[in-house]
Subunit: 891 residues, 2 copies
């Protein structure tokens, strides 16, 4: 039996359902669903994603049975509409749109008004009784089709349009007449023939298949590939094609088109949020060419009449539909509608993209409204999205030099240098510069620049313009439709109404929550973690089983992390403490000593300072576990390397330049990453680790004795490759611990464990667990050694690897589950085989990456540890993992 | 039932057997065996190695039943000897010696004449009718016992002896009288009491248990630990203690003592080889204090009477015993004997240590004599030993300035700087210097220096002196007993009889096969691989199943390797070819090009030279497989780094210094080992690999087409971490190969495979095998990444790791089977799971290390590949592996 490739929808009946997104794409599935629940949807049909997959598998050939299926479904649409495709009298026009499983705004191409030619346009004129409308629709179709399907440079046709307006002495498209448009259709076709050497197709069937091919073709265009890469969408998902009968929002002033969200996608507030344009096609709203009007007063007073006032009946119907959709989908919806001659049609519904703030608020509100339960609420917020909430906002007390105000399109508070092109933004970001991309409006070609920029400022376009939608998806700060500014690309500057001129390279600050644009850098304050966020995180903590600790080296970081919900410290690095201005001299004295006695003398000076560090950290983490890693980096990191600095230091230290230089040379390493560091220092210079262990234990004993703390210090020995190293160092540490405990006369437990950060440690974890009381997987170094890849040196080829798909993701960002993950899993299993109750955690930066956290949950770690600002993300990811959800739900 | 801790031997009856070496130690087992086969062995008993193990397990306490067992066995010895231990009239004296499972020459301590005190010495005087002998024995006992058991500084007693000789106006010990010795015994005891605060024990029981304790104690002394480490002997094997009734070689001129080998241990020649001393104790022969006499004329004419002449009856008896022992043990024996009043006693037999040359000759001869079969002959030669035979000997045509001649104690031809202490030798070796250790005589304290030196030259001592025995064991060149030289430690020089004076740091050459000492460095020639060596290797190849290839980058190396029996090339590195003076300019031009076109232009210049390389190698390896690795090192290795060199190169290349400097800086890497190298170069600069593949295939096609070769080139892509890298590069390579094949119009197969040298490659070998047609385990890099250990940087701590036992062996020398080996095994299993017939080999330097080769055989590799000079070692190791022998048989 042949596969079914086409699914029909129309007149309250549909072959598809909302659950069939994988097959029909998001748009197709929802058109079917809306049809089924009785919403007014223009009839049409969906060509499945399987066809796309087959298409690419079979060298861009369609399945044999597709043509007949499309024919049959087109007949059904014709019957329902009472029109015929290509008919001279009563022609059916259709739209052809893409619709992938995951929503990909702006990525895919759309053709409207398909079916128009010199004959059918006459039928439209007669039906609409409006030749200007008919020829406007026709010229739009020719423009769109020639661009998207035929590969015509669209500027050539726009140039003809400009010439026409000049010839007519007018400025606006709306001032052109039916005849002007008719002439332009002829001019366009002639130009296309001249440029491409082929005629614009007159046959509606040829038009239809050309458009279908273009939709499938656009699945593999560079923009789509980029978007998929940024959003981790597999290429083999494919896109569906939706062919739907046209309805027109631009057939007169009783027509309109609009987009809306059932709640505010920026704040999550529960009011009907949206924009519309009278006498316009949908593309006019999204493209940001005309500034749209609000659908109601709740959207703020723009000075323009709202839909509620202008079209009260349609508005009332739309409000009902809003309620039906939210009750049906149990989630905030993003809808598109068109009004043709006072009749409302729904063109799309989908789960609305939203900011992190909105995601949290909508989830908490819907739970309170009884629409969803706590679990669903938790699953509604993507862990990666939380990042937006965990970053600073503008300090309300700081002075602001506001020079312009636009729409608060995507929240955040960012500063950076002004740039005017996406390429500049990308180039600057590669140099580590922070930039704000300033554009008249953005288009899909700008995506890489938007990604690279800190924030986006546009002069035109509304809350649902390309810039706004994409920025919210990316979690980027965006101020859109800022009519106060005039962008001058040629001179690389923009001017405000107030007369301020800002050039490329000038610093500005954007506030995406207010729409304010400020000159210079405005200071920021820490995020607020109360309210809805606090409520949601409360539910999160009910469901997760994985503990979340933090990587913190100072009392301040410890405090911040605790506020973010950290349940202890998983990694306290001690080397940063060595760099303090008041102790680096003693550290260097230690390194330059040629014997144990000299080193011990210098270490004696460092001891009280180290002890002070640990006192501070233990106090902040009162009664929570703290894992302290002993010195890890090679000693040469503490010495200068440039001749000038060496000479200076030699003077300060009272040693000869030559002696210092030869020490620096002696300590030089070809591959410091694989050199004399970690526990290898502890083996060759036991006095260093002894001092550190003494400092840890004295701090702990003091707090236990004098302040009644309960502390179980976890002493972590880095870079273990063999159990014998750990045996030697554990013996040394135990001796120091027991001495200190005896001296203080307190009762205190302590654990001695190790990082598992070398492949050999994972491979022999069964042996190592005989000595280690805990393991912490150091997945940064483990990734470096497993891949044979230096993080510091990978910049020259790793981006190319990710761009070209050799690596799906940067393995330093998201744990390579397939390779490095095998070692982590092996380490866990072997460790537990020897010591059933061994404590297992991860302290690489992957501990704050959602998919890595889910992996850690699955293989049964006890905790993850990450930077303070990522603790809530890890908590949420852990809850998702526990709830059995391994996918990012906003995708 | 209590364990049996003591085994008796005497009067033709013994409780032990030769096979009980693990329990009784080598010496004890062979004393028992010799007793059983009717040889004249003084009766005694062996305390088992289990007691040693128990002793260390139980905090240096003996098992409870030991005392009674020793008592009972002592009674049996007393009965057989008709003497009583501690008896005033007819006292039994015993020796107490160690005897471990593996022979450890000079490592363990021995006590002779135990049982003597002021009372029993009177009994000995009466029995021997020689008070001088008795007091000499007594003073020797006091010296030995106080040194070994009581920890007395032996020089203090020697000083008293010197004083006595001075007081008596004599030079030699032999000139002292009985009264002198008697007085000295008193002086010694007084000095001991004065120094140690404890009396010398008079009670023979106390003496006995003190000596037993000292033997066990010496198992853990530093010398023993060092020897075990050098020879990979586990500490828990323990030593046995042999208590045996004394016989005396120093009771007059009808007494003697000697050591002999049943064949020449240096050449393997089949004659009775040995030395003896009249009127001496055994220690006098081994210590090298008196130069011994040959046992027969076959040992050369030393001008001194041989045992054959002086003691013909005993000699005849000894010749019979030689024959009995070889027929019994089927191996060359190392024996010790003593003649007391014309009566021969056997004190020891063991398999004799021998040079590689002797090992080969003895094995081949014994096979021919019908004593052993081919398998046994193959197993008789340790693979690691072969190294000695595979190195150069002195060029017979080169002029030699011979300044002295000593005994040819251990063969080899080496040159180096003269040093006079073991510590100097070790320090110099660490700096990479070649040194010759020159000593009056060596002692166990010198072992580390002997190990570090290229060769050893001693002024005193015979062919069985400490220096000679240890050097042969180590495979070190040694000239011993070179009476032509006078060593002056104080002035750090030695003078020859001819008047030449050589200072520390002067270069000398030793020929261990002739005993010649030459000034300066004498050139060497390649080893001969014919004769017995060829016969043995023929048997070797019958038994082994593992193939042996070579690592060779030039036609010359390929030729040498083929002569050594290589069955193909397992690793042909192409980077060395890039350094040739006539092509480095083109290589640099390629690196400095900023675009593909520039690089391609430069590569076009390199192509014909690369093709020439491969033509030469293919010709040498006619019809054998050749695996060629594409470019591996990072590009910066081909550029200079010093300012001066950069300036010079800039001038030559006609580029600006600044441009060249910034390129060098741009290419700089923090961890080049983990950087932009291997296949990462092939991914980012595909034109480089394309050129190399083209050169390989053009060379192969040319030989197939014009010279009728059968070639299956194996193209190896290095540093693969993910299958996708290999997929991309394989596609590129296949395209180039097909183009070349098409162009030449020949039929030729080729394989594309990869190195497995990163942990991730081993972990995902199942995926990689989908693309790879062969795997070659690059265990050098795999060891670096698995351990996180840079070979170039490990010198600062790795020696300490090995010295302190944290690592048993340097993992770059012998494959870390426990860690890295897991990945190799995993790679094999996963690779074969995907592609059952995948070709598997190893090309790290471990391919020439015997224990690693045996590992490779066990896990089922198809071949190992090693440097040309190690090919025979690998072949022999592979035969041992196939014969099921995983242990080094000379141990």
């Amino acid at each position: 039996m042949a596969a079914k490739y086409v699914y029909f929808f129309g007149n309250g009946q549909a072959e598809g359902r909302a659950e069939m997104k994988n097959l029909l794409g998001g748009k197709g599935a929802n058109l079917a669903e809306m049809t089924s629940i009785g919403l007014p949807v223009p009839p049409g049909f969906t060509i499945t994603t399987e066809v796309c997959t087959e298409f690419y598998k079979n060298d861009r050939q369609y399945p044999a049975s597709l043509k007949a299926e499309v024919e049959a479904n087109l007949r059904k649409v014709e019957e329902l509409m009472g029109r015929k495709f290509g008919d001279a009298e009563n022609p059916l026009l259709v739209s052809v749109r893409s619709g992938a499983r995951a929503s990909m705004p702006g990525m895919m191409d759309t053709i409207l008004n398909l079916g128009l030619n010199d004959i059918t346009v006459q039928g439209i004129i007669r039906q609409a009784n409006d030749s200007r409308f008919a020829y406007d629709a026709y010229r739009r179709f020719v423009q769109m089709y020639s661009d998207v399907v035929m590969g015509m440079d669209k500027h050539a046709l726009e140039h003809l349009l400009e010439q026409k307006k000049e010839a007519r002495g007018v400025h606006l498209d709306t001032e052109l007449t039916a005849d002007d448009w008719k002439e332009l259709v002829g001019d366009f076709k002639a130009k296309i023939k001249e440029t491409l050497g082929q005629s614009f197709p007159e046959d509606p069937q040829e038009q239809l298949w050309g458009a279908v091919g273009a939709v499938f073709g656009s699945w593999m265009n560079q923009r789509a590939i980029t978007y998929r890469k940024l959003n981790s969408i597999p290429a083999d998902w494919g896109t569906a094609v939706n062919v739907q009968s046209m309805v027109f929002g631009n057939m007169g002033n009783d027509c309109a088109t609009g987009v809306a969200f059932t709640r505010d996608p920026s704040t999550g507030d529960n009011y009907f949020y949206g924009e519309y344009l009278v006498n316009a096609q949908g593309e006019d709203v999204v493209a940001g060419i005309r500034t749209p009007q609000p659908i109601n007063k709740a959207n703020g007073d723009s000075g323009l009449p709202s839909m509620e006032e202008v079209m009260p009946e349609c508005y009332t119907q739309l409000v009902k539909i809003r309620s039906i959709l939210e009750n049906h989908y149990k989630d905030m919806q993003d809808i598109e509608f068109t009004i043709e001659k006072d009749k409302l049609f729904m063109l799309q519904t989908r789960n609305g993209k939203r900011t992190a703030r909105a995601a949290v608020k909508v989830a908490v509100d819907m739970m309170k409204e009884g629409l969803i339960d706590e679990k669903t609420a938790v699953l509604r917020v993507a862990p990666s999205q939380l990042d937006q909430l965990l970053h600073p906002s503008l300090d309300p007390k700081a002075p602001r030099n506001v020079i312009a105000k636009g729409l608060p399109a995507s929240p955040g508070a960012v500063s950076g240098e002004v740039v005017f092109t996406a390429d500049e933004a990308e180039a600057a970001a590669k140099l580590g510069l922070k930039v704000i991309l300033v554009r008249v409006e953005t288009s899909p070609e700008d995506i890489h620049g938007m990604h690279a920029a800190q924030g986006i400022l546009t002069a035109r376009g509304g809350m649902t313009s390309h810039a706004a939608v994409v920025a919210r998806g990316m979690g980027k700060c965006c101020v859109a439709g800022c009519g106060d500014i005039k962008v001058d690309y040629a001179n690389e500057c923009f001017a405000t109404n107030g007369g301020t001129v800002l050039k490329k390279g000038d610093i500005i600050t954007l506030d995406g929550s207010t729409g304010e644009v400020m000159v210079g850098e405005v200071p920021t304050v820490a995020p607020q973690l109360t309210g809805d966020f606090g409520i949601l995180m409360g539910w999160v903590d009910k469901f997760r089983t994985l503990k979340v600790r933090t990587n913190a080296d100072t009392p301040h970081d410890s405090k911040v992390a605790r506020e973010f919900g950290a349940e202890g410290i998983g990694l306290c690095r001690t080397e940063h403490m060595f760099f303090d201005a008041d102790r680096i001299a003693a550290v260097r004295e230690m390194i330059l000593s040629s014997d144990v006695e000299g080193r011990k003398k210098a270490l004696t000076k460092i001891l009280p300072m180290q002890k002070g560090d640990f006192l501070g950290i233990f106090r902040e983490m009162k009664d929570l576990p703290v894992t302290i890693r002993l010195l890890d980096p090679p000693l040469h990191e503490f010495l200068p390397h440039e001749d000038k600095d060496i000479e200076e230091l030699a003077k300060t230290m009272g040693v000869s330049v030559q002696a210092l230089k030869s020490k620096v040379e002696f300590l030089h390493e070809f591959n410091p990453m694989l050199g004399h560091r970690g526990c290898r220092l502890g083996i060759t210079f036991p006095e260093i680790y002894d001092m550190q262990v003494q400092a840890i234990m004295e701090a702990a004993c003091e707090l236990v004795k004098n302040e009644g703390f309960t502390i179980v210090p976890e002493i972590m020995i880095p870079l273990i490759a063999t159990v014998k190293e750990l045996k030697v160092l554990k013996n040394n540490a135990v001796a120091v611990c027991e001495e200190v405990i005896g001296r203080y006369g307190v009762k205190i437990e302590y654990l001695i464990g190790t990082m598992i950060e070398l492949p050999r440690a994972a491979l022999t974890a069964d042996e190592i667990a005989a000595e280690a009381e805990f393991f912490s997987f150091g997945t940064n170094d483990l990734t470096q050694t497993t891949f044979g890849l230096s993080r510091d040196d990978s910049g020259k080829f790793l981006p190319f690897y990710v761009d070209s798909g050799i690596l799906e993701e940067d393995p330093f960002v998201s744990l390579d589950q397939n390779g490095v993950g095998q070692l982590v899993k092996m380490g866990c299993e072997k460790g537990r085989a020897t010591r059933a109750k061994i404590k297992l955690g991860i302290c690489g930066e992957h501990g704050g990456d959602p998919s890595s956290v889910i992996f850690c949950h699955k293989i049964g770690l006890d905790y993850v540890s990450c930077s303070p600002f990522r603790v809530p993300i890890a908590r949420l990811a852990a809850a998702h993992a526990a709830l059995g959800e391994a996918v990012d739900l906003t995708k």
